[in-house]
Amino acid sequence: MGEALHEITLTVNGVLREAKVPGRRLLSDCLRRELGLTGTHVGCEHGVCGCCTVLLDGAPVRSCLTFAVSVDGHEITTVEGLSGPDGSLSPVQRAFSECHALQCGFCTPGFLCSATALLRDNPSPTDDEVVEGISGNLGRCTGYQNIVKAVHRAAELMGDEA
């Protein structure tokens, strides 16, 4: 007997998307498999690395610790949704690029989502607040110094544009 499938509707990056998933489908896998959005990375699948962080109704959450069916009807923003409609990079993305805050890029989608939410809630964070805000994300290439710099730089860019 096949596993029961649930029809779900998610608003992903502003677009209404439908998928049929078994109850056990993780949101991370649903985004990557059913919806073809492979920007959300999967590192550990137990909540430790933060690579799979996406925004759920605006708040950063682990997509590997969320079932897709649980968030039926909700809004998701993935790294693909951070840039403008014309593909222009968001201030956070530009700052990461400018400050060399990425190397292989595996951890980057998670950092970008966490940092985007952090700066929305707190447009000019202190060093400590930045570190706390990204404390749930692990990176293995660049070290964290440039990532912290990039978040401050993004705050500047956003301030200039406001």
Binding site: H6, G23, R24, E45, G47, F67, S70, E132
Partner: protein
């Protein structure tokens, strides 16, 4: 690392939730924030055949400051409770401890009640419920509601008094009496990790600012939070003349931690003494400050 198959249930009301849980019995599991359960499912350390997702039961998404304390519904996320300024006024120890639970991103999804039911002996919130003498309200289909006090709620590592078919509907954290302060101190290998050792303290002063009662609940030193009353060692003195070294020694002598890859038993014992003393001193200071405020306001 994918969960095995289960039947997924998405009740919308408390009644429906309890009916499904009754039907599933020992094969059912409640899914709240999923921040502990989904890792276990992903690693297949748990494989329930029925998963009862309470995320749509809006009636459980409540945080209320009541007479004598704070009641937190089963769907109240860590982040919501941490942000609430009325909760912080009624029971400041909750916010202090929540800041130490995992990372902000985990707290956006994790629930306070889920942390209690998960009953990890290293977790902060079980120690908070224990030191405050709080309780958890359990409900089942066509059965009585039980109000289980913290002392009876935590029954072993990752084991609580919740029985198959039961739902923890809320937890109650009593507020502090007058002239009472609280604090939570811990040491973790990395900020956001489970603590190697930690202590939640509550200290009450009498009219003359002498310590009337002093209690700590210690994490990571036993199968459940270890509650120690150190009032006697404080010998009814004002905080400044308490023999704090004796208090720390008393704490060390009364716990029996185990060693693991993160810390030896001896190191945990040492840390717990230091952290209990630190938390107690901060709590005593807070109680004195509160007393001062009370006086200055007439």
């Amino acid at each position: 690392m994918k969960p095995s198959a289960f039947d997924y249930h998405a009740p919308r009301s408390l009644g429906e939730t309890l009916e499904i849980l009754a039907g599933a019995g020992p094969h059912g599991k409640v899914l709240a924030g999923g921040q502990s359960l989904i890792p276990l499912l992903n690693m297949r350390l748990a494989a329930p055949s029925h998963l009862v997702d309470i995320n749509r039961v809006a009636a459980l998404d409540t945080v209320s400051v009541e007479e004598g304390g704070v009641r937190v519904g089963a769907l109240a996320r860590h982040a919501a409770v941490e942000r609430s300024s009325s909760v912080a006024r009624a029971q400041p120890l909750l916010r202090a401890a929540l800041k130490l639970v995992a990372h902000p991103v985990i707290r956006n999804r994790g629930t306070v009640v889920g942390s209690l039911v998960h009953a990890d002996p290293s977790a902060e919130l079980p120690a908070v419920l224990t030191v405050l003498d709080g309780s958890v309200r359990l409900a089942r289909h066509a059965g009585p509601v039980r109000e289980v006090p913290a002392a009876a709620f935590f029954t072993g590592p990752l084991e609580s008094a919740v029985e198959p078919g039961e739902l923890a509907v809320s937890a109650f954290f009593p507020s502090l009496p007058p002239r009472t302060g609280s604090a939570f101190c811990e040491v973790a290998r990395r900020h956001g990790d489970y603590a190697m050792a930690g202590a939640a303290a509550v200290v009450s002063l009498d009219e003359d600012l002498r310590i009337a009662s002093a209690r700590v609940a210690c994490v990571s030193v036993g199968p459940v939070p270890v509650l120690l009353d150190v009032s006697e060692v404080c010998a009814h003195r004002p905080a400044a003349s308490v023999d704090w070294a004796a208090v720390a020694r008393d704490v060390r002598d009364r716990i029996d931690p185990e060693g693991d890859i993160h810390a030896t038993a001896a190191y945990r014992r040492h840390l717990t003494g230091v952290l209990a003393e630190r938390a107690l001193r901060i709590a005593a200071q807070e109680a004195a400050d509160e007393r001062a405020e009370e006086t200055s306001h007439g």
